[in-house]
Amino acid sequence: MEIFLSQLFIGLSVASILLLVALGLTFTFGQMNVINMAHGEFVMAGAYTTYVIQGALGASLVTLGFLVALPLAFLVGGALGVVLEWVLIRRLSGRPLDTLLATFGVALILQQVARDVFGASNVQVRAPAFLDGAITVAGVSMSYTRLFIIALVGVCLAAIWAHLGRSPAGRRMRAVMQNRDLAAASGVRTPRVDRRTFFIGSGLAGVAGVAVTLLGSVGPTLGTNYLIDAFLVVIVGGLGRLRGAVMAAVALGLFNAYVEYGTDASIAKAAAFALIVVFLQFRPQGLVVQRARGLT
């Protein structure tokens, strides 16, 4: 029972980070049909942002640095995203596979930038003091860092939810996601909405980068490790579906945590992959674009 609960906890915290990375992907994919392979590098940028701020503020202000890093990483990630959208992705509209490949080239360049600036070896980010320790509930020790991550993702999720549901900008986002042409014809300035979506999605990746620093060291290829899993979340969850992404992330996180406990990490990965292929046999609907009249 304790093992069940502790794996549940670990699974949820992993799912939270996955979700944060996947949210940006699912929005840009759902709205613009863009697969951004450099998204993982935005996570990396967020993580290095934390590292830089800690270095600048010094050892005495670790907590402040960490808290400052959260909004700043959002801005850094968002800014990178907007630049990428403006310089490259806009020019590739209607060519999703080429976009995927070109953004991968960008990912390669960004990784090399990180390697040249911060060195090829990993760097450590210190967790703020208030996250030291753990709380024990029902015999399960839950570290504050993981609890913090879950809470952080909860807050982000609530903010997104409110933004999509209540604000005019969020409504425009949803409109473009559901029917781009109709939204454009109704006077929505779609390029602007696209930029905004990209900013928010990439910003969330930056925030995820800050969260990741709590779990381990930071290196140039940090993003790649999360990207594939996040994409699988998008595939299972369905396009641009917030609820789908949440469910898929939790399912994948928990599955990994439990199978990993029973066997080992590599078997868990392979099993998760097999499970997704099996899942597609029963529910490809989440994947296939809505059927339209005719064949286009």
């Binding site: 590739l92 999703p96 080239g105 490809p284």
Partner: protein, 378 residues
């Protein structure tokens, strides 16, 4: 009259191809071993292995529109099949491969057992990847998972494969992979002089693979494959099962990658996860993108050229090489999706071949239509 002209033109194209093919084959089989040092020849042999993978990618992606981001898996299956056989051959009957002894494995795992025999291991290097691709392709394509979804899935597959390889140390040699090979069929792999034998083997393999792929592309099947890329749903309503059409190309590409992997092992002397993961797999696609996805010969040429440049530059300017590689890749994908093949076409059009001049505006229309159609299907 027009029919006669058509037949003649078709005949011309065939002769032109035959001449070009023979020239390249002669250069590869006769010229290269004569002028290149053993070291360079062995390097070229490695690049030709990559070219075999590239031909497969040209078939699946360039012709069939399936962006295969996980060819490392098939390359690896071929490579490990070969590597397992070579390890067991060297260990001798009843003995364990060296790395198993080091990691404390006491008896040979059952998976390894059949790979003692060349008659099993060598065909498996090609058949195993093909079987995996056929099963996976059928499952995935049948559910109409395509485009970016398929790309990501295929990439995830390669990633999962690598994780398993690294995780199952005792079974696979872990991060180190399989290495320390000394001989194959009594051929001393450490002797530089044997480089030309291995090289000739790979060159013949590439030529054969190229002919197979070209036949697939030029046949009616090739036309249907392009049709599937343009509009899979429309093909369905012409009475074809797109799943089957796609699975054939995907499986062929997997078999080619497997063959390349199997040949790679004796030449380079190692097969390890670092050669197969996400990055190496996508690099394989990059070769094809730079060479020219739509033209098989250019896809193969891209693999050789990129790797040749990489060998020259990456050691002297490791960081600069990556910037250059990334930049060139982004620019080519975004602004010259036809790759080097497109540059060749452009130059030829600029020189004004007599045919192009005679056709005049019509040829131009045709060229623009092709450009338009070359865009990815949404």
């Amino acid at each position: 009259m027009s029919r006669l002209a058509g037949t003649l033109a078709a005949g011309d194209a065939r002769w032109g191809f035959l001449i070009r093919f023979l020239v390249v084959a002669a250069a590869m089989l006769l010229l290269a071993p004569a002028v290149l040092s053993d070291f360079r020849l062995s390097l070229l042999a490695k690049f030709l292995c990559f070219a075999i993978v590239a031909v497969g990618i040209g078939l699946a992606w360039g012709q069939g529109g399936m962006l295969v981001l996980g060819q490392g898996l098939f390359f690896g299956l071929g490579g490990y099949s070969m590597g397992m056989y070579m390890k067991l051959e060297e260990a001798g009957p009843g003995q364990l491969p060296d790395f198993m002894v080091w990691s404390g494995v006491e008896s040979l795992p059952a998976v390894w057992e059949p790979f003692r025999h060349a008659w099993f291991a060598l065909p498996m290097a090609v058949l195993l990847p093909m079987a995996v691709a056929a099963v996976l392709g059928t499952l995935v394509f049948r559910q109409r998972v395509r485009g970016a979804y398929f790309a990501i899935l295929s990439q995830g597959l390669a990633a999962a494969f690598v994780i398993v390889l690294v995780g199952q140390q005792g079974l696979t040699g872990g991060t180190n992979g399989l290495t320390n090979f000394t001989q194959l069929f009594g051929l001393d792999l450490t002797a530089q002089a044997n480089a030309s034998i291995l090289y000739t083997m790979v060159a013949l393999g590439l030529l054969a693979v190229f002919l197979i792929a070209r036949q697939l592309v030029a046949s009616r099947y090739g036309r249907v494959l392009v049709a599937v890329r343009d509009s899979e749903d429309r093909v369905r309503f012409l009475g074809y099962d797109p799943t089957r059409i796609k699975v054939v190309a995907y499986t062929a590409a997997a078999g080619m990658a497997g063959l390349a992997g199997a040949m790679f092992v004796p030449i380079v002397g190692i097969i390890s996860p670092a050669l197969l993961g996400i990055l190496p797999s996508i690099e394989m696609v990059i070769w094809v993108a730079l060479g020219g996805r739509a033209v098989l010969a250019w896809a193969a040429g891209g693999a050789v050229l990129v790797n040749w440049v990489k060998t020259g530059l990456s050691e002297r300017f490791p960081s600069g090489w990556l910037y250059l590689f990334g930049m060139v890749f982004v620019v080519v994908i975004a602004f010259a999706p036809k790759g080097m093949a497109g540059i060749g076409e452009y130059v030829r059009a600029g020189l004004g071949r007599p045919g192009a001049v005679r056709l005049g505006p019509r040829a131009r229309d045709r060229a623009t239509a092709r450009d338009r159609a070359a865009q990815e299907p949404a």
